[in-house]
Symmetry: C2
Subunit: 238 residues, 2 copies
């Protein structure tokens, strides 16, 4: 095949339209899990756009445990065209790898790919509730496909720079008075999801100021916290 | 979350551009494996478009065994907009399932998703050779992402209608004179891939005429065959 002439002419662009939007307690990029499956208890909803909102379009999906979402990195309007390398947070944010060797949002086409666990399906409303998504609230979804084990699951394969570099998980401390507020404001599952998000250390890699107070938007509230060493403490909820 | 007002307004379309094109011995839809991984020996090449053709863009990819391709169903220009259900060949072609419960090419946005095995990488040429792809020759590729085991691999999950309905594999018969020609025209791996493709029975589901001669384009040649019962026989190579 390598003796063939170069491919030409350049193929045409393609216009794609959202088929659904995502609803999540996580509103912005800050606090968003860095990959699907990291915050296992994080619930979100896939809400079909009107054009596709029919029980027919979901028929048979109840037989699957997982699905794929192809979605838009809509929070990266400052996308960097032509950028060939990125610096994954997993590598501390200062090692460059090729854009096609990373799942970074800064890529030629702003498309994300996530496998999420199906929690429940409401075909009448056109809503699929899922667990473990890394999509922020309002994210446009361009395709929903069932996860097919024989084609998609490759246990034990080498996964490059993600293999050796496991995250340091933080211990999340919830003072008594904060715990009371958390209990009042959130469901047990949402509280669990929030702790999973905080344990993954949402701070930018290069920041390590124990005095600094961070605010994470979660479920229409702002979660204020500080972190030092291997510990993160929730200070208050606004 | 379900008490929120309906999402509005409808999100904007997104224009995406190919970052690469695929080179395969399979030229059309006929004979294309129906999912990635089915024809394990089928070699193909991901050829980066000029804009992204740099060793930098692939740096670090050598540490991964698999990658994801988000690609265009470019052979389905007759795509059926608004179609809510499809009839998967796996179910014999006459049972309807929702478009979001299937991997059918006839979907709202003509995007395909395939995990393929990396065979070799030539960063200088901007070519990644892969095995097991279900992309036809010339297919536009919109994104290349590394396969990350911890986020992507879910062994043992339920996979809906694909679980119970394994393909009937055909026995492929190669008469002596055809075998000589195959040996002369194709590499051992390409011969193996061709047999894998034929064993999967590329005929449309509803066709079962033992006299009919089919022509499958493979590696610039046309493979003529007939099929009856559990047997497929290669008649000639044009």
């Amino acid at each position: 095949m390598t003796t063939d002439p170069p491919l030409s002419p350049a193929p045409q662009p393609l216009e794609i339209r959202p088929v659904a939007r995502f609803r999540s307690p996580v509103e912005g990029k800050f606090g968003l899990p860095r990959q699907a499956g990291i915050a296992e208890n994080l619930r979100g909803e896939i809400v079909l756009e009107q054009e596709w909102n029919s029980p027919e379009a979901l028929r048979g999906l109840e037989g699957f445990d997982y699905l794929w979402l192809i979605w838009g990195f809509s929070l990266n309007r400052e996308s960097r065209p032509g950028q060939l390398t990125v610096r994954p947070p997993r590598l501390g944010g200062n090692v460059r790898v090729g854009v096609f060797a990373s799942r970074s949002p800064f890529r030629p086409n702003p498309l994300g790919l996530s496998s999420v666990k199906i929690s429940s399906i409401d075909p009448r409303k056109g809503v699929i509730t899922v667990l473990g998504a890394d999509l922020a609230d309002g994210t446009p979804i361009y395709d929903i496909k069932p996860y097919i084990e024989y084609a998609d699951s490759h246990p034990g394969v080498r996964s490059g720079f993600t293999d050796g570099s496991s995250w340091r998980r933080l211990e999340v401390i919830v003072p008594e008075e904060v715990a009371v507020r958390l209990d009042a404001l959130f469901s047990p599952q949402d509280r669990e999801a929030l702790k999973e998000i905080l344990a993954e250390d949402p701070r930018p890699r290069y920041q390590n100021d124990p005095q600094r107070v961070y605010g994470l938007k979660f479920g229409k509230r702002e979660i204020l916290f500080r972190a030092e060493g291997d510990t993160l403490i929730i200070i208050n909820i606004d």
